[in-house]
Symmetry: C2
Subunit: 165 residues, 2 copies
């Protein structure tokens, strides 16, 4: 009986210790993965910039969560991929349109489910007096949706006064 | 020897099981606490609005993390509490200044360390032709700093064209 209890106890120790060490391993992996998450977000941004060059509004809208929100200056927010696709299409139809952006800082939440991404942008268009260049900043909150990072909110504004329209 | 091992094994089971159940309890608490975290953020927002009524730029700057970033339209970002305090002081010195804002959605990360807060604002000032009202939207990313929620990034922009200045 004592031996049987000993085996039982030893088995329980093994089970519960391995449970705990698996937990610890998960935490360690999740911390290491913060860099992997950041790389995945940066890779999304590279794809996004390429899709801007191709004027592919539908694919760009796919970078947002289903109920994601685009919050541009000078217009109310667009919510959902359909509204966001329209907003991107209209923006990319601006005469002389060009847009690039670059992250300044990306911080991933400890569980790897949310991330903040802020950076700068450079927007070019053609006005009545020639080329207009607007530089500004953006703030995107990313959400990890089943292993893929999607933008749940995307906001930007200009560093300078908006050119008169 | 068998008995001593049994006691040792039983002690280990007790220690490791209690360690594991404490872990489980933490997880359960953290999920339940999502609502508590949201309440804490809403309470911060109430305080912040009251401090705006009192024009208390120094206290408002304390709502940001040490290296927090304020990203207003029409100006480059301000980083750190000192720059942010100056930016708020200047904004609140606008003739006829009044500002209110209200969250539309707050989502807390699963580990309770980061949260997205987006909403709307109403900014009033006095121009050469009388009162000017600007309505727009904001996006704040909150970080849980040792149990207190602080804004790590705060951006806003207008829903309409900026009034000419």
């Amino acid at each position: 009986m004592a031996l049987r209890s000993l085996f039982l106890a030893a088995a329980l120790v093994g089970a519960s210790l391995s449970g705990c060490s698996r937990e610890t391993a998960d935490h360690a992996t999740s911390e290491v993965d913060s860099a992997a998450h950041e790389r995945a977000i940066r890779s999304n941004i590279s794809d996004w910039l390429e899709q801007i060059r191709k004027r592919d509004a539908a694919v760009i809208a796919g970078h947002y969560t289903e109920d994601g929100v685009l919050m541009p200056p000078g217009a109310p927010a667009s919510q959902g991929r359909s509204e966001i696709e329209t907003a991107w299409r209209e923006m990319m139809e601006t005469p002389g349109f060009d847009l690039t952006f670059e992250p300044t800082a990306i911080v991933v939440s400890s569980a790897g489910d949310m991330a903040i991404d802020r950076g700068t942008y450079r927007f070019t268009s053609t006005g009545p007096d020639g080329q207009i260049t607007d530089t500004g900043k953006y703030l995107v909150v990313w959400q990890n949706v089943d292993g893929t990072w999607k933008a749940m909110a995307d906001m930007f504004n200009s560093d300078g006064q908006q050119p008169a329209t």
